[in-house]
Homo-oligomer: 356 residues x 3
C-alpha cells in the first residue's frame, strides 16, 4: 500500500545523463528516465505499448526515445510519433508517462494522477547547493525492507543507544524522553540530550569537550517519505541558536522511495556547518561516519524484515517510545484511505485531518 | 498452455549416447532419454513409480533402465520387469513412456496421447545431411522466455532493421511489406527486400555487390513450433531461382520446444549453398554470424519476458506488422481448444479450420 | 505437518557456547539458543515482541538476552525485565520460550505445549559418553528434503544394495526379507544377512573373513524422529551376542529434526566397539565411511525431493519392501491427528493405538 499522489525522489540529478537511459522501479512500476537534447528529463513506463519490450533497451533520439525492438519512437509525453513501415499511427500507441521535476539536485517523480501533480508540493533541500552548508551529494542505499520499517527507525530514538553506540549514538540517549508534535501531514520530534558524553563521531570530528548538549529536531513528512534532521552538538549550556562556531551543526536529509512492498530506495545527504576548519577533508570524514551509522540501521532493519517475511507482522507489542512512529503510521493510513476513496487533492485531505 | 498432440524436437541425436542418461524437461515434464544396447532411444518420465526418485540417477542395463534407489528395472515401454526381493511384480509398477523418433539428426518426442503419435507428421530437415547443403549440427540455446514470444519474433520483420542492424539485418527492411499466406496449420511469409544495401553478414561472407536483392520465405508450422527460412541474397535483378552461384542461399531451421511456461529449448541450424568456395571455414563463419544474431534476439526477448513477468501481458497494442504472428497465435489457440475439447486428431482440426 | 508435543534434537551441546548466540529454525520456527552465566541453555523465539527484530542480533547479559535494536532485556522464560526509558513494563512484553534439556551431549527442545514437556520422554543416547563405546560427536548434515523422505530411507533395506554398494551395503542385501515389529510409537526391524560377502567398509576396517553374518536391528521412534541401529558383523555362525571380539559392533544414532516442510536437520553419530585395536585412528576412519554412505543417501533423497517438488507426491506405488516405512507413516499420522484433535498427552495416544 503506497500513497501515490505525492512527489517521490527518483534519483540524484547526476544519475540521469544525456547518453545512457536510466531505469528504476518506483512504487512497483519500472520507469525509464532519459535526458532529452533540450536537457529536460522524461519519465516513461519502461515497457513499450506494442509488444512490451523494455524501452530502457532503446535509444534516445533528440527529445524522444526509440524502442529498439520494432523501432517505435515515443515523445516524453508518451505519444508514439513514428512507427516504421506505417503511414498512420494508432492513437492508442501511447506509453504511460510521469511528471518529473528537478530541484536541489534531486529528481522528483509523481506516480499518481498526473492532473494533481503540483511542483510547489516538492520539499525544500536547498542545502545541497548553498554557501552555508557543505555536503556530498549522491548518497544512496538499496534496502531489502519495506519503507515503513525504515521510517519507524527514523522516528525512534532509543535505538541510538544500542544500534549506534559506536558511531552517532550514546548510551545515555536510551533514557531521554522526546517531545512529539503533530503538524499537517508531518510529525516533528525534539530530542534533547543534555550534559551527556559526546557520541563517538563528535569525539572524532570536533573540538568539543567530553560532555555536551545535543539538540536533535526531526521532521518526518508523510507525503514523500521525506525526512530532515537538524542536529546541534554544543558545549554544555550554550543553547541551540547561540552556540559557538565549534558546535557541530548537521542537516541530515533522507528520502525513502518504495521500490516494491519489500524493497526501498534510500537517498540521503549530511550537510554540515564549518565547525572544525582545521580538519582536512571534514565533509568526507563526516559522510563516512553517517554512512557507517546508516549501514548499522540497514543490517538491523533488513534482519527485521526477514523475520517478518518469514512469519508475519502480527504480534508487535507497542511501548511508549513508539509514539512518534505510531502517529506517522496513522497519518499515512489516513491519507491512503482518502486517496483510495477518491478524495484525492490536498484540501480534502486537510479537511479530513482537521475533523479527525 | 501447450499443444500436446504433436512431435517436438527433444534433442540432437548426438546428445543421447549409450553411456550417460540424458534428462530434459519438455512441456513441463522431466523426461529421461537413454539409448539401449539395440541403439534405439527410450524416453521415460524421469520419476520412478515406486518412491519418485529420478531415473536419471539410475543406470542403463541392456535395453532397460534401472532405478538406483531401490533397484527397480524398467523397459523402454515403462513396464517394471524386475524388483529386487520380489517374485511377482505389481502390474501398476509402470513409468510413463513417450514415443520417440530419430530423423535427420533430430530426436522427436510425442508428449500427448501416444495412440495419436504418427511419424509421417514429423517435419522434414533432410538438409542436415545431404550433398547440396552444408551445415553444422548441434545448435542449441536455452531461453528464459515463453516460446510464443520467440515465435512472435520469428514471424516479425521490422525488428531486422533494429535488433539485427549490425548482423543479418539492414535499416531499409523496416519499410518492406511482407506477404502473409495461411496454410493448413502453418503460416508462410514472403519478404522481399529489393535493390537494397547488403546486410553486414553478407558483406563479410560473400562476393556480392553492395546493392542486392534479398528474398526471404518463412514457413512457421504451428504444430511442433517448427520454422524454416529459405533466404536468397543475390545481385540485383537475378531472381530467386535463376541467381548466379555466388548468390547466398541459406536454409535456417529452428524448432522451439517449451520447457516450461517461461523457458524454451531453441534448436537451430543454418545450412548453406556453396556460395563462396574461396572462403575457408565458411560454414563456421556463417554459423557464428547467425548465432550472434540469435543472441541479439535472445537479449531482447528475455528482457521482454522479464517485463511481462513483472506485470502482465495486458496492454499490448497491435500494429499492421503483427499480421503474421496474430495468424499463428490464432491457429495455435484454435488447435489447443480442439485438443482440450477432445477433438484430438488431425482431421477434426482441419475441419474446424475450414469452417472458420 | 509436524508432531509438536515431543522432544527434538536442536543441537549438539558444543554448538551452544557462552559467547555467541545460536539461531536455528526448528519446525518452521526460528529459535535463538543462548547459554546463561549459570551454564543453562535458554531457548526463545528469535523475534523480539516489540518490533520483531531478531534476538540473535542481540547480546547475552548474565542469564538474560538483550535485543540490540531498542534494548529490551529478556529472561530465559521470555519475560521482559528491562525496557530503556520505561519505569513500568507491560506484562504483554513477552517472547515465546521453549523447554530445553541437555542430555548425552544432545540439546533437546520441546516445540509444542510446554505444560506437556516431560524430560523422561527423552531418548537415551548414553553411548556418546561411556567406556564401552567410542564415538565422534558433532555429526550434522543439512538436508534439502522433507524429514519423512529421510525416515523412509532409514526404514528401507533394499537401497543398501544399490545406493551403498561401494560403502556399507552389499548386493546380496537386496534379497533379504526384514522382520518388522510394531512397538508403542516405534517400529523395530531385524534384518539379518547371513553367510554373505562383507560390505566394503567392513573389508577396510576389520580383520573379518570375506564371508560374514550381518545382524542389523533398527529402532525408529516416531516421536522425536529418533533412530538407533545396532549392527553386528561377525564371522559366519558366531551369533549376535556370542561373536568374538573382532566382530564389528556399531551403534548408529540419527535424529531428524524438521527445519521446514522441505528441509531437515540430520544429527548423527556412529559409536563402535573396539573391534580392531591394531588399527590406528579407527574412530575417524569408521566415521568417514559412515559419512560417505550418508552423503550417498543425501544425494538420492534430495534428488527425490526435487522430483516431488516439481510435480507432487501422487502416484507412488507401494511394494512389499515398504512395509516398515508404511507402519511408521501410519503411526505418525495417527499421532498428529490426535494432537490436532487436542487429545494431546501420552495416555490418550496410547489408548487410541490400543483401540486401533
Amino acid at each position: 500500500m503506497f500513497l501515490k499522489n505525492c512527489w517521490y525522489v527518483a534519483a540524484w540529478d547526476a544519475e540521469i545523463d544525456a547518453v545512457e537511459l536510466f531505469s528504476r522501479k518506483i512504487l512497483g512500476v519500472q520507469v525509464v528516465f532519459f535526458r532529452g537534447a533540450d536537457g529536460k528529463i522524461g519519465a516513461l513506463e519502461d515497457k513499450c505499448c506494442h509488444r512490451l519490450a523494455p524501452l530502457s533497451h532503446g535509444r534516445r533520439e533528440g527529445n524522444c526515445l526509440r524502442c529498439m525492438y520494432h523501432g517505435l519512437l515515443f515523445q516524453a509525453d508518451g505519444r508514439c510519433v513514428e512507427a516504421p513501415g506505417q503511414e498512420r499511427i494508432n492513437d492508442k500507441l501511447r506509453v504511460r508517462s510521469f511528471p518529473v521535476v528537478e530541484r536541489d539536485h534531486f529528481v522528483w517523480v509523481w506516480m499518481g494522477d498526473p492532473s494533481l501533480a503540483d511542483s510547489p508540493l516538492i520539499h525544500d533541500s536547498h542545502w545541497h547547493d548553498c554557501e552555508d552548508w557543505k555536503a556530498e551529494r549522491g548518497g544512496y542505499m538499496h534496502y531489502e525492507a519495506n519503507f515503513e520499517l525504515i521510517a519507524d527507525n527514523l522516528l525512534d530514538f532509543s535505538h541510538l543507544a544500542f544500534v549506534h553506540r559506536n558511531t552517532i549514538g550514546s548510551s545515555r540517549q536510551a533514557e531521554v524522553k522526546p517531545v512529539v508534535e503533530r503538524l499537517e501531514n508531518a510529525v516533528r520530534i525534539k530530542y534533547f540530550t543534555l550534559d551527556s558524553p559526546a557520541p563517538p563521531f563528535a569525539r572524532k570530528l570536533t573540538t568539543l569537550p567530553e560532555m555536551v548538549d545535543r539538540f536533535q529536531t526531526y521532521t518526518w513528512n508523510v507525503k514523500s517519505n521525506y525526512f530532515v534532521q537538524d542536529s546541534v552538538i554544543a558545549s554544555v549550556g550554550e543553547g541551540i541558536d547561540t552556540a559557538s562556531k565549534n558546535a557541530m551543526r548537521v542537516h541530515t536529509t533522507i528520502a525513502l522511495t518504495p521500490e516494491t512492498e519489500h524493497t526501498t530506495h534510500y537517498f540521503w545527504s549530511a550537510a554540515h556547518s564549518d565547525f572544525n576548519p582545521a580538519l582536512e577533508g571534514i565533509t568526507r570524514l563526516l559522510t563516512e561516519q553517517v554512512e557507517a551509522a546508516f549501514e548499522e540501521d540497514r543490517m538491523m532493519i533488513e534482519a527485521q524484515q526477514r523475520t517478518i517475511s518469514a512469519s508475519s507482522e502480527e504480534g508487535m507489542v507497542a511501548i511508549p517510545g513508539d509514539a512518534a512512529l505510531m502517529q506517522a503510521r496513522w497519518m499515512l493510513r489516513n491519507l491512503i484511505r482518502q486517496e483510495t476513496a477518491g478524495l484525492g487533492g490536498r484540501s480534502a485531505a486537510s479537511t479530513e485531518l482537521e475533523r479527525a
